[in-house]
């Protein structure tokens, strides 16, 4: 398990980094925490002539409450930092609750927010959280900066809207205010393994106890994390205490057509587990929204 030869670059700033990516083209790969990339290199499942290390890019690190009602998290912020953050726990509870489910603490100590999103594994937690909360992702390239909604960022298994010379620099998570409930549930073979299937639920009720905002995310059940938008739309205006959980689950998981299948579970099994996770997450989120 020794990687093929590569040239190591450690740019000092974002512009230098994207300049290198542009110059070196498809032979180059950005490396942050390396928790997915390094094993692939070691196993020689992937080989790159150049690695562009982002560790010196301080501008990619940090957690900031912004005036526009969002929390900005730098792409290079480690998952361990997110897990320890009071700001995240208070303002973006779903992200805080999903973080301990990522790998083990050693992995979270090196793994980064941006790395997880840019790697875009369909069974990973952060893409599902970003999608569920309608986060906006910031990218930098030699052509400048742009913002990409999570929905458009995730384009397929291990693929994103980022161009070859584009770097994910940060994520803006909207802060939900009011009577909200958030829950993430996942099932993995062992604690720390990639989920067989998981679900995220975020919802808000109005003064009459009716849903005025609702997002249901699924992960491990397709090529990317998925939103159950039809189910969400049907629920707006309803009383969540009265909702038929079985019907929500049925509607959220019907029509899944690219559920993966492997040693750890067939597609029908993963769908069954996904349904159970939606049920459990829904109940917890409703409980929190209605009763705190």
């Amino acid at each position: 398990m020794k990687p093929a030869p590569f040239t190591y670059h450690a740019p000092a700033g974002g512009d230098e980094a994207v300049g290198l990516l542009a110059e070196l083209g498809e032979e180059a790969k950005a490396i942050a925490g390396g928790q997915s990339l390094v094993p692939m290199l070691a196993l020689r499942l992937a080989a790159f002539g150049h690695l562009v290390d982002l560790r010196r890019l301080d501008e990619l690190r940090g957690i900031e409450r912004r005036g526009d009602g969002t929390v900005w998290i730098g792409a290079g912020t480690t998952q361990a930092t997110v897990q320890r953050s009071d700001e995240v726990r208070a303002a973006v509870p779903l992200l805080a609750r999903a973080t301990p489910l990522i790998g083990h603490f050693q992995i979270r100590s090196r793994g980064t927010v941006g790395g997880s999103l840019a790697h875009a594994d369909s069974a990973a937690e952060y893409p599902a959280v970003a999608l569920t909360l309608d986060a906006e992702l910031e990218a930098l390239s030699p052509r400048g900066r742009r913002t990409i909604p999570a929905e458009r960022f995730l384009t397929g298994m291990w693929s994103t809207a980022l161009a070859e010379d584009e770097l994910l620099t940060g994520v803006n998570f909207p802060v939900w205010k009011g009577r909200c409930g958030f829950a993430v549930e996942e099932f993995a073979r062992r604690s720390g393994d990639f989920a067989i299937a998981g679900a995220t639920v975020a919802l808000r009720v109005d003064g009459d106890g009716r849903l005025d905002r609702c997002a249901i995310g699924l992960f491990g059940l397709g090529a990317t994390a998925i939103r159950a938008r039809g189910t969400e739309a049907a629920l707006i205006g309803s009383d969540p205490a009265e909702a038929d959980a079985e019907e929500i689950v049925r509607s959220a998981t019907e029509g899944l057509d690219s559920v993966p299948s492997d040693l750890h579970g067939s597609a029908p099994y993963r769908t069954r587990v996904g349904a159970a996770m939606v049920t459990r997450a829904w109940r917890r989120a409703v409980q929190e929204a209605l009763h705190g």
Partner: protein, 781 residues
């Protein structure tokens, strides 16, 4: 011999491990820590196909890469083999093929085809990617269960893929009993392939000194002397010209008892190279090619009378040997059938075992290699209890052997004695509070929660007296300063053998434990020994140390008596100090006695030789020493996701008096966790084309601290007839745990009518079992 000589000051106590300071501070010396001048590094080119003809191998590009010293293929290395056989099996045993590199045909994914030697491992791997092998694919024999009927042969000279078969009396003999019995219960449980997966993978460094014709090997091994014997035979050089050194080995579990094909390649290649050659297996290679175990199934059958008493039992057993087993599985595999009756009163029965080649990684030994006997028997007993509407504990109580029936022999003639199955069974149930658990289970079911309890009770042969294993030697040197070194063959892979030997020696001599150290694992200085394996090291080293220390102790007492001017029988020698009541407060330290022995030889009593060193060798008169244990496990099954959560895990074991309870419990914990892994997580799986699908730890799942409950241990102490009354305890945990876990899951799912026939019990397989049972019941209705 019931006790080691001298008073037991240290034996029986939780003496802290002498290995721990270096192992826990990261300063152990594993084979990859060995660095030799100019050392070269090997990397294997391995087959990506389960079965293919090799039409050609082009090494030209690889050979030209900067830093590459050689690229070897079969015709370069294989003709160098003079003899290759394992001491355990002997030269005349019908063996299975074992070419160093694949010749003409590859037979599993991972089969070594070529070996690249380079300045470092990175270059070797770069070059390995440049070796071009032209394969002509052949249809593989992937599933051993259908291999006997296949028209394809894993080895062309073994049509039908049968390695061998063995059995007891003809099955037909038992038919009248089964035909006339009020109840017959049978089932087949298919157990998946496991890997032993030690934390340290395989590895070896071989350094050839051509001028002197000497080979020095550093190896990750359980048996340095077997590596030496094997290398001497392989290369046709004298045994005493080979030196094998192992300092720390990071787990073996049976996989490292014998050198394998890659080790042969390194030994052969080293004689052609100007410097030492190192090969360290990486984890992916390990999961591809280091070997598989536990892959087998059997139709187990029992006949019962109306009171639930067993009338007869049979086992029709089939085991996967893979393509290149290490060693041939026939000799060790027959133990499955021989031990199948377990600790039960079974008047008659028989077994048949067949061993079958397949195009998969070769079978290797794995902690309790015959474990399937317990899996087949204990799961069948639970199924029988459900069919007979008896509590499984009650069914066992009616059939389990008790002490007053000993000695006895099982229906295969295995002679049991000095065991306590009923005592461990009752102790474990009491620790659980079995009746209370059943009440809790009933309450939980009312709430739609499914709890289960499973047990497994087994008897286990330890310290067996095969010709290879029947003796063990020790050399003890008390140096002039009074410090003691004890030399034994070693082979410790985390088994605490250094601590054990230090404790035993300190007590057997009467020395202070801080004055005793041990040297192990270097064939140049230690007495010959078979190494760790077969749960032998406790009883066998105890025998060797008792014999050797006994002689030295007599000399110590004689010198002290002479100096103190009292009769030898009046001298007390404890914790390194000799005293006598008659000599008042006067006494002698071991250092003072050693000083006399080495530097004041004129002051030695008549007939006592100078110096204080001795060698002794124990040979066991016991064919085997029996140990036994009961495992009890409780679990909860989530019937939506299929997740199994273990709640409590209890082991009651009888390994005789314990040399060190912490070491005993450590062995039990480790083995138990491996069995839990086998029941629920680990699967060295292949797809239909023979491609391995669990080649990293993301797919080959080992249980971690979060999956395993606290393991509670109870002890029953029945001395063996061997040295100190000790029994082996290394393997048992791995035998009893998987069947207990499987029974617990089956018990939890009993209300659904679930029948378990395939392992492991993954969440998805449990959901599948529930769906099967539901479909079956729908049909019945």
């Amino acid at each position: 011999m019931t006790r080691t000589v001298g008073d037991a000051t240290y034996v029986g106590t939780r003496t802290l491990r002498v290995e721990d300071l270096r192992l826990l501070t990261g300063t152990g010396t594993y084979v990859d820590d060995v660095i030799r001048p100019g050392m070269l590094h090997a990397c294997f080119v391995r087959s990506p196909m389960a079965r293919a003809r090799i039409l050609g191998i082009d090494v030209s590009e690889a050979s030209q890469l900067d830093g590459v010293h050689a690229v070897f293929v079969a015709q370069d290395l294989n003709p160098g083999v003079r003899e290759q056989w394992y001491t355990l099996n002997g030269p005349d045993d019908p063996d299975t093929p074992r070419p160093p590199l694949a010749e003409g045909e590859v037979r599993f994914v991972g089969d070594p085809v070529a070996m690249v030697v380079a300045d470092d491992r990175y270059i070797a791997e770069d070059a390995a990617e440049l070796v071009v092998v032209d394969y002509d694919p052949l249809p593989p024999v992937v599933d051993y269960a259908t291999a006997l009927d296949s028209t394809e042969s894993v080895h062309a000279d073994r049509p039908g893929n049968l390695v061998g078969q063995l059995g007891g009396r003809p099955m037909a003999d038992l038919e009248p009993v089964f035909e006339n019995a009020p109840h017959v219960v049978s089932q087949t449980v298919y157990q998946q392939s496991h890997g032993p997966v030690p934390m340290e993978t395989r590895g070896i460094v071989a350094e050839w000194a051509a001028a002197g014709g000497e080979m020095t090997i550093w190896a990750a091994t359980q048996s340095p002397h077997e590596v030496r014997s094997f290398c001497a035979r392989l290369l046709g050089i004298a045994e005493h010209r080979v030196r094998v050194v192992m300092r720390d080995t990071g787990g073996g579990f049976g996989q490292k008892v014998l050198p394998q094909r890659e080790d042969m390649c390194v030994m052969l290649a080293a004689t052609k190279l100007p410097a030492a050659l190192k090969w360290i297996e990486d984890r992916q290679e390990h999961l591809l090619a280091a070997g598989q175990a536990r892959h087998e199934h059997g139709e187990a059958r029992m006949a019962f009378d109306d009171d639930g008493r067993i009338l007869a039992a049979t086992l029709d057993h089939v085991q996967d040997a893979g393509a290149y087993p290490t060693p041939s599985p026939v000799q060790s595999g027959v133990a499955v059938g021989m031990l199948f009756p377990g600790p039960y009163r079974i008047p008659e029965g028989t077994f048949s075992s067949r061993f079958v080649f397949s195009n998969t990684s070769g079978r290797v030994a794995y902690r309790g290699p015959w474990q399937y006997e317990s899996m087949a028997r204990e799961t069948l007993l639970d199924t029988a209890a459900r069919q007979l509407c008896l509590d499984p504990v009650e069914l066992r109580r009616r059939n389990m052997l008790s002490r007053d029936e000993l000695p006895t022999a099982n229906f295969n003639g295995m002679p049991y004695d000095h065991i306590s199955p009923r005592e461990t069974f009752e102790q474990a149930l009491k620790m659980l509070d079995y009746e209370a658990f059943r009440r809790e289970q009933a309450r939980a079911r009312e709430q739609g929660r499914y709890l289960g309890v499973g047990t497994c009770t087994y008897v286990e042969p330890t310290a067996g007296a095969t010709p290879f294993h029947a003796t063990e030697g020790a050399t003890i040197r008390i140096e002039p300063s009074g410090k003691v070194n004890v030399y034994v063959a070693g082979g410790s892979c985390g088994n605490s053998l250094e601590t054990t030997v230090v404790q035993l020696t300190a007590d057997a001599l009467g020395a202070a434990i801080e004055d005793v150290s041990t040297v192990q694992g270097d064939t140049a200085v230690t007495p010959y020994g078979a190494g760790t394996g077969g749960s032998r090291s406790g009883p066998m080293t105890a025998g060797a140390i008792a014999r050797t220390a006994g002689e030295l102790r007599e000399r110590i007492l004689a010198i002290a008596a002479h100096k103190l001017e009292v009769p030898a029988e009046e001298v007390e020698f404890i914790r390194g100090r000799a005293t006598s009541k008659r000599s008042g407060g006067a006494g002698l330290t071991l250092a003072e006695i050693a000083d006399i022995a080495y530097y004041q030889v004129h002051a030695l009593p008549p007939g006592v030789p100078a110096g204080l060193e001795a060698s002794g060798r124990y040979h066991t008169p016991h064919l085997m020493i029996w140990a036994n244990a009961t495992h009890v496990c409780t679990c909860e099954v989530d019937v939506v996701t299929g997740e199994v959560t273990l709640l409590r895990y209890i082991v009651s074991e009888d390994c005789g008096p314990m040399i060190n309870p912490s070491v005993v419990e450590g062995q039990i914990f480790g083995g138990t966790v491996q069995g839990i892994g086998g029941a629920l997580y680990e699967h060295l799986a292949y797809d239909e084309d023979g491609n391995p699908v669990s080649t990293t730890f993301m797919d080959y799942l080992l249980p971690t601290a979060t999956e395993v409950p606290v393991i509670e241990v109870g002890h029953v102490e029945t001395p063996s007839p061997g040295p100190g009354g000790y029994k082996g305890v290394g393997e048992g945990g791995a035998i009893g745990s998987a069947p207990a876990v499987v029974n617990a899951v089956a018990d939890a799912l009993a209300p659904f009518g679930v029948r378990i026939s395939r392992l492991p019990l993954t969440p998805s397989s449990i959901v599948g079992l529930l769906e099967e049972a539901r479909a079956r019941q729908a049909v019945t209705r």
